[in-house]
């Protein structure tokens, strides 16, 4: 690997965007190249220095204004849509404990999504009224699963499915 390439890889590695194989290749280069090691060390120091600048706290008046607006908007908003509720549900899952159950949760989500697909818009509205019940059912399905049922899945799969659900619904 040339140093110019290595520097781009260092940027992506520090951003958490390098796969494990590429990381190993990069680490090998770094092991042999002092210039790139310095580049990485200095990049990190520059990042550190940039983030060290003190910032003022949120102004109390501004915060009151934002909360007031939030209150006003909140009063006008209806119940969040099924897709949004499902999305938030997946986002707030405590992933490590539930990881084995995620694949089936994904299947359940796909079924819900499939059902939404074939329903008429008027039915969608009816479903939206029933959001809590749907989520409860999903939670029950999750709780009923054992680790053996579910070989592979991760949080990203679930989030992607939630995103797809939203598109289906939207």
């Amino acid at each position: 690997m040339k140093c110019e390439q290595a520097k781009l890889k260092i940027l992506r590695a520090d951003a958490g965007e390098l796969g494990s194989w590429q990381t190993r290749v990069l680490e090998r280069h770094l092991g042999a190249c002092a210039a790139c090691r310095h580049y990485r060390a200095d990049l990190r120091q520059l990042a550190e220095a940039t983030r060290m600048e003190p910032q003022p706290a949120v102004d109390a008046f501004a915060m009151r204004m934002l909360l007031g607006e939030a209150q006003r908007v909140s009063a006008q908003r209806g119940v969040p849509s099924l897709g949004t509720r499902l999305f938030d549900f997946f986002q707030t899952l405590e992933i490590p404990a539930l990881r084995p159950a995620l694949a089936t949760a994904a299947v359940v989500a796909v079924l819900v999504g499939g059902a939404l697909l074939v329903r008429q818009p008027s039915m969608l509205t009816a479903w939206n009224d029933d959001v809590d019940q749907q989520i409860e059912r999903l939670q029950d399905s999750l709780a009923a699963l054992s680790a053996d049922d579910l070989p592979h899945a991760n949080a990203n799969d679930l989030e992607n499915i939630a995103c797809e659900l939203l598109e289906v619904e939207g």
Partner: protein, 196 residues
């Protein structure tokens, strides 16, 4: 929980307005740090910061992504670019160093084994000059640099916000780092990282 904001977003969407305050506080540092270096003055920055949150509040139901800060940065990007297009002058920073003793960045840089004492000395007092040098970067490069450094956004997200390829975002970052190296040459004489 690794992502406390997810809980606050869910609560807020269900109508718990106070959770918004947690979100605003939680993201203050990176978001304001970005905005203040992309705008003309701290008064401008406060305006934009406020406007970002007002838009977020009004469109919170359309948020269905994985990275809330990235979503906020996208709103901020649109507002900042609008201002630039309206020919608002870009930021100019005072050259005087800040001296808030508790938060001087040079006192808080971790002392890594790779950083020899002379390197630490070389970094001393460079903070305000980094600020000034960043302010001189072209808008697109400055934005990439700040989204990466302040927001810790991955290049994939930065590229999406700027509507360019990842390679373009990476190239902008490289240009920015090279220009900073030029500007900070004397401060960084001993730091090979900003040397090519």
């Amino acid at each position: 929980m690794d992502h406390p904001e997810r809980k606050w977003i869910a609560e807020y969407r269900k109508g718990k307005v106070e959770s918004l305050a947690h979100l605003v506080e939680h993201f203050r540092r990176p978001l304001y740090g970005f905005i203040v270096r992309m705008t003309e003055s701290s008064a401008d920055a406060e305006d934009v910061f406020q406007e970002v949150w007002l838009r977020a509040i009004r469109h919170i139901d359309s948020y269905h992504e994985k990275n809330f800060l990235s979503w906020l940065f996208r709103i901020a990007h649109n507002l900042v670019i609008d201002r630039v297009r309206r020919q608002k002058p870009v930021v100019h920073f005072p050259q005087t160093p800040f001296t808030t003793t508790a938060t001087r960045w040079e006192d808080r840089i971790p002392d890594t084994t790779s950083a020899a004492p002379d390197r630490q000395i070389a970094m001393r007092d460079v903070g305000p000059r980094i600020k000034a040098a960043v302010a001189k970067l072209p808008v697109e490069q400055r934005e990439v640099f700040l989204m990466r450094m302040e927001g810790d956004l991955p290049f994939k997200e930065i590229a999406r916000i700027q509507k360019v390829s990842i390679n373009t975002a990476l190239a902008r970052m490289q240009y920015a780092l090279n220009k900073l190296r030029q500007d900070l040459k004397s401060d960084y004489a001993d730091l090979s990282g900003i040397r090519t």
